[in-house]
């Protein structure tokens, strides 16, 4: 990230300038399934093309690049919830179908002949991890998000509660961090150091992406839904 420059994003600026200001936003586009090739279109026009709320997009972009200088809660509270649910849905697909398989594909290429045992160990670790992430995200996709959508459409008709989710929402970054440290400290990388560097950077990045993802769920979505539930209860009393 270009740490020497701080650019606040706005709807009128070119999408390409946004990426220039912080190229890690390419990942945001990937997570949202916005394709590249946007020419000189503005942020607003690209968002409209994908039918995604522009303010929510700007929030996500600023959240990724400028989190330390923005008032996250205040800005989030002025935005609709639905686009964020869509964003989380899309991100899940991106992690499960693109990000993690891509890491696995590379992992198979970094071990030397002498490191066969280690290779099996690491792949096994990674497969177990992928299984856990899959279960974690599928539960959100199939149970939690549909509940939030129902709540948005027709409040108060449900028996599920976001408390259930909050309680069972576990940490999925920890093992990613462990894998990163094991590879960095204990694998020689002799076979292909360029690829090894690439994997490590990808793991660091994924960990950050997952942490930001979890933050949005735990600190923005859950409190908002709790408030919606509270309003429901008041109506019923």
């Amino acid at each position: 990230m270009s740490t020497n420059v701080t650019v606040r994003y706005n709807r009128g600026m070119k999408m390409s300038d946004l990426i220039d200001a912080d190229y890690t936003l390419l990942l945001l586009l990937a997570r949202l399934k916005f394709s590249l090739g946007f020419g000189d279109k503005s942020v607003e026009v690209v968002c409209e093309q994908y039918d995604f709320d522009t303010d929510c997009f700007l929030f996500l972009a600023n959240f990724q690049s400028n989190r330390s200088i923005m008032d996250v809660d205040e800005q989030f509270n002025q935005l609709p919830l639905e686009p964020f649910i869509r964003y989380l849905n899309c991100s899940h697909e991106y992690f499960l179908e693109k990000r993690l398989p891509n890491i696995r594909r590379k992992l198979k290429l970094i071990f030397t002949e002498n490191e066969k045992d280690l290779e099996n160990l690491v792949l096994k670790f990674f497969d177990n991890y992928m299984g856990e992430v899959n279960e974690h995200m599928k539960y959100e996709d199939n149970t939690v998000f549909p509940y939030v959508r129902r709540l948005l459409e027709c409040p108060c008709s449900d028996t599920y509660s976001i408390d259930i989710f909050e309680e069972r929402h576990n940490d999925i970054e920890e093992k990613m961090a462990d894998l990163k440290r094991i590879l960095m400290k204990y694998v020689s990388g002799l076979k292909d150091q360029t690829l090894m560097t690439n994997i490590l950077m990808e793991l660091y990045q994924s960990e950050e992406e997952l942490a930001a993802h979890t933050f949005i769920e735990d600190h923005l979505i859950i409190p908002r839904v709790k408030n919606m539930e509270k309003d429901c209860n008041k109506l019923h009393l």
Partner: protein, 199 residues
């Protein structure tokens, strides 16, 4: 993001200096979050809610009562470091009871140095020795074999509380926290044989 990230609070009235400091501090690898305290009337109340790991404050804000301990004045616990943010020409005695001093013309590395020193004052001593002790290696082997805290306690004839302390220290030293991650570490370092382990 390590789980050792600290929460800092910054109390300063100048908008530019506060924002600048918040931004700079948030870039530090040791810092997870920086909270701004804009209003100083109920600072004690705010601190009690936020419970930061350290406070950076302009000593001028507390008035000219330079005698006595800043921590009594702020009703902060003794182990929370308070760092003075100094940019006025003020008497040194105004910040003598602070744990550290940041000056407006400090460089990035100096700032980092002050932070690290204040945040990790106690840990510094143990930090030098990052190798696992023999006892910790034994505990690690038990963890990797899938034993519960209770089983480990009984097997090694120690309390569950001690097991938990060992686990915490192992995690801190190795920076590996999951059981499956520790398993790979143990196999790589020949503490256990791959055949004895169920993956």
């Amino acid at each position: 993001m390590g789980n050792s990230g600290k929460i800092l609070a910054v109390a300063e009235t100048s908008y530019i200096i506060r924002k600048g400091l918040v931004y700079t501090l948030s870039q530090s690898p040791n810092v997870a979050k920086v909270i701004e305290l804009k209003e100083l009337e109920d600072i004690n109340y705010q601190l009690s809610i936020l419970s930061p790991d350290a406070l950076v404050i302009n000593p001028m804000l507390l008035g000219h009562m330079h005698k006595g301990d800043v921590k009594n004045q702020l009703s902060l616990s003794k182990n929370i470091p308070v760092i003075a943010l100094v940019y006025n020409m003020i008497d040194e005695r105004m910040y003598q009871s602070y744990d550290g001093v940041i000056r407006i013309n400090d460089s990035e590395s100096k700032l980092e140095e002050v932070l690290t020193e204040c945040l990790y004052k106690e840990k510094q001593k143990t930090n030098d020795q990052e190798e696992l002790s023999d006892r910790e290696k034994e505990i690690l082997i038990s963890i990797v074999k899938g034993m519960s805290n209770k089983e480990i306690a009984e097997y090694h004839n120690i309390s569950i509380h001690t097991v938990i302390t060992h686990r915490r220290n192992i995690g801190r030293k190795l920076e590996i926290h999951s059981v499956s991650g520790l398993t790979i570490y143990a196999i790589l370092n020949k503490l256990v044989d791959i055949k004895d382990i169920e993956l």
